[in-house]
Amino acid sequence: MAKDIPAPTRKELVDALLLKLPGVAAKKLNGLDAYFVGDRMFACITEQGIGLRLPVAVATELQFSNGNVVPFKPGGMAVSREWVQIERVDAAEHEKDLQLFRDSLEFVKTAPRR
């Protein structure tokens, strides 16, 4: 009799999407699963989805046009206007966010240090 295969976790699904992008490394920060390019963090896994850093204009537009994109407020305090949370009940749907992950990676990699 075949055993049930456990569903992949959000971490496993996001790892599969992000770790194949060039220069991306997974780290744990404050117990949180985070993704870095070089020494810069650009994404992290949250209970509801993914925290992602994007250019302010993109982050703002996404919040207007997508019901599942909200300001990223870990602990109730907004990080900055560049950080949003993409909420996905079904973590497998993060595949639809791949282009945003690429945009985030490129933005963080090339943004001047502030």
């Binding site: 997974a26 949180l32 870095f36 907004a78 990080v79």
Partner: protein
């Protein structure tokens, strides 16, 4: 385990800013720490600005920091005076405007009687007349309270002499011993931990001062990380005998240092 650090204490001057200009990568690093859900407190021995003014000044430099997240030596000193010497007349010798932080405390000027001598940050106010008045009050038995005992700080292009030099002189001349309130005092770090609600062994302090930031934190059971910015000098690290838990190029490298490999 580095990734178990939940609380992060950050020095401001020399770590986030120099002469109130942001250091490269500092704004982003603070945002990354917030994104990771780290509890932050900003600890400073700066004595010339209130927490509200500091918050506004940091906002102009690009940092989003609430006044309640800032712990200053001036505010902690005022709290100490209210608690320990209620109703005392205090001769306050400091440079800059601490304004509302000392609300409710009776402050006296040079030449006037006082019960407590309070020393803040050094500046042109540290004249011979003012220091001599402090000395005479100490000789008459007034206790000496210091916001900090830093010997110098980094301005845009030079190190500048701070109040620690004067405090040593007053102590030597009067036979008094200052009660130091700001960094590296253990009580200052304990107050920060109490505000964070995080245990010492899950907290890291990041600073550019080996004594005030690194040794002070370690004495309170907190990990101490030294940055190679601000007043950092390699020669001083070599001769200090203080062993930071890490030495990093700048705060920009902190999130990656805190993050362990997956």
């Amino acid at each position: 385990m580095k990734n178990s650090y939940q609380g992060v204490l950050l020095d401001i001057d020399g770590v986030l800013t120099v002469s109130w200009r942001p250091l490269p990568g500092a704004v982003d690093a603070v945002a990354q720490l917030r994104a990771a859900g780290c509890q932050l407190r900003f600890l400073t021995n700066t004595t010339s600005r209130t927490r509200r003014v500091l918050s506004d000044t940091l906002a102009r430099a690009g940092f989003d920091v609430a006044p309640a997240e800032i712990l200053t030596a001036a505010a902690a000193t005022a709290a100490y005076l209210r608690r320990t010497y209620p109703d005392a007349r205090c001769f306050l010798l400091t440079s800059g405007e601490v304004g509302s932080e000392f609300d409710g405390i009776e402050l006296t000027g040079a030449g006037e009687p006082a019960d407590v001598v309070v020393i803040g940050g050094a500046g042109v106010e540290f004249s011979h007349d003012a220091l001599n008045h402090a000395f005479r009050l100490l000789q008459d038995g007034a206790p000496l309270v210091a916001m900090h005992r830093n010997f110098y700080w980094q301005t845009r292009d030079k190190l500048t002499l701070d109040a620690g030099a004067y405090i040593v002189g007053l102590e030597k001349a009067s036979g008094s011993r200052a009660t130091v309130i700001g960094k590296p005092a253990r009580t200052f770090y304990e107050q920060a931990l109490a505000e964070l609600g995080v245990a010492a062994d899950r907290t890291v302090m990041v600073g550019d001062d080996l004594e005030a930031d690194v040794r002070g934190a370690k004495d309170a059971g907190i990990a101490g990380v030294l940055v190679r910015t601000g007043k950092f000098r390699a020669a001083e690290l070599a001769r200090s005998g203080v062993a930071p838990d890490a030495v990093i190029d700048s705060i920009a490298a902190l999130p990656a240092w805190l993050g362990s490999g997956k």
